[in-house]
């Protein structure tokens, strides 16, 4: 069959799969009427379950809103029963007759309509307001009402469905109400199977080509030069990340798809993170196959690809699920601080310390990894041991991101930004971890007036979600596959410092053989102007070089070689190009 037809079929299959995947949010009704009241009750209680079963079936996109309303109604009834009602608040404030000084906390009592735990809380929250002078009554009123709100909020957290469990409850509810065939495993096989099949068919033309460099028509191709189709992929990816992190309820059906796999692996219910891990690993696997085909004949690329696939499947995806099954902390053993920025967060440290000896070993493994493993291995092999052979972000970049590696910005300007940004994030990560570790080990939330929880959530949102997630992966089709690694990863900055100043790794150039064609610079995913070094015969030692080896692969004259060697003479700033005798007269 013709290559173009195969590609069309492959693409068609893949897009069908994507279409089905996305459509799950918009079609297929979520139905609570058929669910057992018992299982629904496990979400919260019988009352809530009854309210749910009263809802008419609707697709996720609509049901999410309905659920929100159901939760709000439920919370309102909780407030009515146990909280502070508006009418009693209004009456209470009226009784004060615009005189704030008349306020006494002992008036917060059963007689006036306040009782039970909520009354106690209100007295506690407003104690400081008694006997205080107020500029006017309205400022007192505003403060009082806000305290009432706080009390109700805490009542809801305790007895209703609070902020922190709202998202999870909605998700769990939809999972219960999702059609059974969706959760059976066949739906997943169909949808993901189509995508995988599409990919494999699409790769057949690549298999037909001879082993060698296969970069033909990349710059003739709109989807690889940040035009129309690439922009669509970019938008889809960013939207996916935003929904995954901030509005996971809209992915509930898709999460249900992988429920059986989650049960098999972890004995646990599926979640958006399991779905994410599954998609991540699956796409790495399929695109990894493409790498193996594309780089036939270049063992370095093939071994490296197998390595990142192994570490992702075994360490990042499977092992943590199995650990969960055995009720151990689910830890990705290859994940090193500061990339794994939550390492010293209190809930994590507690997890390890509560998990007996094994937990303790895991905790110390993590410390040894970043404190000893990183500098030692980087000394011997350069930062490539992690960034190109082990890291999950790197693994996705090298497989799924391979079609986009040439989009990295090679200009001097980009490098200037890179230097400041990536080391800035490292400083932020170190400072944030310092604050958080202080909290974890001392129990105090504030240090020098800065709250460690707000610092950590700021870091988590901007660096963890926006930068590493949405920008890091979403921007593949427009800015290349290593945007996070190059501009944001604090571990990369740390590894890079070791590589630049104390390492045996370098990319050697072959004498005077460079013809300045520019393939190396074009295909360098880190935006290094490799050609600048090669054409003057200078070794390439850059803190950003992840040792992917693609420059060496695409060089048409074999000028570049990644190698580990003696430190002596590694950095040669003033090289002499071999080829002629430099006899000069009249010296």
């Amino acid at each position: 069959m013709k290559n173009t037809s195969l590609k069309q079929i492959g693409l068609g299959l893949f897009l069908t799969s994507v279409g089905l995947f996305i459509s799950l949010t918009f079609i297929l009704n979520i139905n609570f009427k058929n669910s057992h009241l018992e299982s629904l009750s496990r979400l919260k209680d019988e009352v809530f379950a009854k309210n749910l079963s009263a809802l008419n079936p609707a697709p996720v996109i609509v049901m999410a809103g309905k659920l929100s309303k159901t939760i709000n109604d439920y919370n309102k009834s909780v407030v009515k029963e146990r909280g502070i009602e508006l009418k009693y608040t209004d009456e209470f404030l009226e009784k004060l007759n615009n005189d704030a000084s008349a306020f006494e906390i002992k008036e917060i009592n059963e007689e006036n309509g306040f009782s039970g735990a909520s009354a106690e809380k209100l007295r506690e929250y407003t104690g400081w307001m008694e006997g205080r002078t107020w500029s006017d009554f309205s400022s007192f009123e505003m403060e009082f009402r806000s305290k009432v709100k706080d009390v109700n909020k805490s009542i809801i957290s305790e007895y209703g469905i609070g902020e922190s469990s709202r998202s999870q409850t909605k998700l769990d509810a939809i999972l219960l109400g999702a059609p059974d065939y969706l959760k059976s495993g066949w739906a997943a096989l169909l949808i993901f199977g189509l995508a995988v099949l599409g990919g494999l068919v699409y790769f057949i033309p690549l298999m037909r080509m001879k082993p060698g460099i296969q970069n033909n028509h990349i710059y003739h191709n709109k989807s690889q030069t940040a035009k129309g189709p690439a922009i669509i992929v970019f938008v889809l990816l960013v939207v996916f990340y935003i929904i995954l992190y901030q509005f996971p309820v809209y992915l509930a059906n898709q999460i249900a798809l992988v429920e059986p796999l989650s049960q098999i692996m972890a004995g646990n219910a599926s979640s958006q993170w399991f779905l994410y891990g599954f998609l991540y690993s699956l796409s790495m696997l399929v695109m990894g196959m493409r790498m193996m085909i594309k780089y036939r004949g270049i063992k370095y690329q093939q071994f490296r690809t197998l390595s990142v696939i192994f570490f992702q499947l075994a360490f990042a995806f499977t092992l943590p699920q199995i650990l969960t099954r055995f009720q151990l902390p689910s830890y990705d053993l290859k994940s090193a601080w500061p990339l794994e920025y939550s390492y010293f967060f209190d809930y994590r440290v507690d997890q390890y310390l509560e998990a007996g000896n094994l937990g303790l070993y895991m905790f110390f493994w993590g410390i040894i990894l970043f404190a000893v493993g990183v500098p030692l291995l980087t000394y011997f092999y350069g930062k490539r041991w992690y960034c190109s052979w082990v890291c999950g972000c790197g693994g996705l970049a090298e497989t799924v991101g391979d079609p986009y590696r040439h989009l990295s910005d090679k200009s001097l300007g980009a490098w200037k930004i890179e230097r400041w940004l990536v080391h800035g994030v490292l400083v932020f990560a170190v400072v944030m971890t310092g604050w958080v570790a202080y909290t974890t080990f001392s129990g105090q939330a504030e240090l020098f007036g800065i709250n460690s929880y707000s610092m950590r959530s700021t870091y988590g949102f901007f660096i963890g979600f926006v930068f590493a997630g949405a920008v890091g992966t979403g921007f593949y089709p427009v800015m290349g596959n290593r945007v996070w690694c190059r501009f944001g990863c604090p571990l990369a900055a740390y590894l890079g410092l070791v590589q630049r100043f104390k390492s045996r790794f370098r990319i050697t150039t072959n004498g005077g053989q460079c013809i300045s064609c520019g393939n190396c610079s074009t295909y360098c995913e880190m935006g290094i102007d490799v050609r600048w070094y090669a054409q003057r015969g200078q070794n390439i030692i850059r803190s950003s070089c992840v040792g992917c080896g693609v420059c060496s692969a695409v060089c048409p004259r074999g000028v570049l070689k990644l190698e580990n060697g003696t430190e002596k003479g590694r950095i040669n700033d003033d090289p002499i190009l071999i080829g002629r005798d430099r006899a000069t007269l009249n010296l």
């Binding site: 005077g512 000069t584 007269l585």
Partner: protein, 448 residues
């Protein structure tokens, strides 16, 4: 008033001259080109056509580099040179004065006056304009319904094989006419030519050996319809690529007083017969080439090395162009080629050659050595990356072949995890030639 140095031509020779001159001097430097506004790597034009890179990416220096280094770029064509008044007359009518002049106008394709060589659809491949013409002649990069279905490439050499590779990426049926009995017959050995020929044919290109071009046939509209070979075979095609060699681009110097032969005659300091006028690169012809070297060597590396020497000379310190041992490189589809020293296409008097190929792979080499003295003469390596530094030293120091073969492990430049080959090759060498290997100590890493 100082006019400084003016360089005609912004290729590797002209630009390297400018760069090295600027390294050692503050004098005014102007570079004139009628080809492109900025220096680009000619060797990479093929990758632009194939879609591996954009044109912007084959420029070795970012555009701000020239202003930053005070190298003025002039876009114009030089019509005439007046050595009496030291002026260049441009096609715009303007003139540029110079204190010192460097002629670095490079090569142009060499045609042999075939009937039909001026038809539409017939072209050489050298300049940026040739690339643009090729794009026009073969529109729509990868569609199968486009008008250029078949092409004939005349000349089995470096540019020919690159052109064939380029056309292959656009679903064009390519037939290559090779005058000799094997591909690149006057440079590589018969064994090597045979394997390269097979590789080329594996890519779907038809090779017609021992075949010359007789005539190019026209259709009704002034375009190409086909070619007639020396064997009177007719081959239909819509495109003819004439890659039968290059010659110095110096027509504009006729009658100027500069001594020219095939190229601009220069001494080892790259001076022409006229004071303050120099030449470098493809267009220069050495009066006294070094033994074993040619008078004209139209090769990227030579242009660069001449530029290095000339730039230094122009700054005031005489620096003759003294090339070291010969080296060159190329790529034939997926097989990389590098050569160090001299391996004769047919073994010369007193020269022995050893050919070795790795079983089942496109990796092979030929080493040449003096029969009597066993002195190492040169190596052609295909698909095996070897260190330039190693062979530069071996040739300068006059190593014997036994030592070269014995130390080959230290010349390894293949990427990590590549198949190992030196042991087998060394054993095969000794078995076949009877010459023992002179090996280094077990832990020796450097080869000096």
């Amino acid at each position: 008033m100082s006019h400084g140095t003016v360089i005609i031509g912004n290729g590797i020779a002209g630009i390297t001259t400018a760069r090295y001159l600027r390294k050692y001097s503050d004098q005014r430097i102007q570079v004139i080109s009628s080809e492109t506004p900025y220096f680009f790597s000619r060797t990479a034009l093929m990758y632009v056509y194939m879609g591996h890179m954009k044109f912007e990416q084959i420029k070795p220096y970012e555009d701000w580099f020239w202003e930053k280094n005070k190298i003025e770029l002039v876009q114009a064509r030089v019509e005439r040179l007046d050595v009496q008044t030291k002026k260049l007359i441009l096609d715009t009518g303007e003139s540029i004065s110079y204190d010192k002049l460097v002629i670095a106008t490079g090569s142009k394709p060499r045609f042999f006056g075939w009937k039909g060589q001026d038809l539409q659809g017939v072209q050489g491949l050298f300049s940026y304009q040739d690339l643009q013409l090729l794009e026009e002649n073969t529109p729509r990069p990868y569609e199968e319904g486009h008008p250029t279905k078949k092409a004939v490439v005349v000349g089995g050499g470096l540019i020919g094989v690159e052109l064939a590779e380029m056309l292959n990426t656009r679903a064009i049926d390519v037939t290559m006419l090779v005058r000799d009995g094997h591909f690149w017959g006057n440079v590589i050995t018969e064994n090597e030519g045979k394997w390269i020929g097979k590789h080329i044919e594996d890519h779907g290109v038809k090779l017609q050996l021992n075949t010359e071009l007789k005539e190019i046939l026209a259709d009704d509209t002034g375009g190409v319809a086909g070619v007639l070979t020396g064997n009177d075979d007719k081959i239909d095609c819509q495109l003819v690529g004439l890659t039968t060699g290059v010659q110095p681009n110096i027509d504009f110097l006729k009658g100027s007083g500069i001594e020219i032969n095939r190229g601009v005659m220069v001494d080892e300091k790259l001076r022409t017969n006229v004071a303050d006028v120099y030449a470098a690169g493809d267009c220069a012809e050495l009066r006294n080439p070094l033994p074993g070297r040619k008078a004209i060597e139209p090769v990227w590396y030579v242009g660069r090395m001449m530029g290095e020497a000339l730039g230094r000379t122009l700054s005031g310190t005489d620096s003759p162009y003294l090339p070291g041992p010969w080296f060159n490189s190329a790529k034939f589809f997926d097989i990389e080629y590098m050569t160090y020293g001299t391996v004769s296409a047919k073994p010369a008097e007193g020269e022995d050659q050893f050919f070795w190929k790795q079983e089942g792979k496109n990796r092979f080499l030929t080493i040449a050595y003096e029969k009597e003295s066993q002195k190492f003469l040169g190596i052609n390596s295909f698909g095996i990356r070897l260190k330039h530094e190693f062979f530069d030293l071996a040739l300068r120091k006059g190593w014997k072949i036994g030592r070269v073969v014995g130390h080959l492990k230290l010349a390894n430049f293949d990427p990590e995890f590549s198949p190992k080959w030196f042991k087998k090759m060394g054993r095969d060498f000794t078995d076949q030639t009877g010459i023992a290997q002179d090996k280094p100590g077990l832990f020796k890493k450097n080869f000096a």
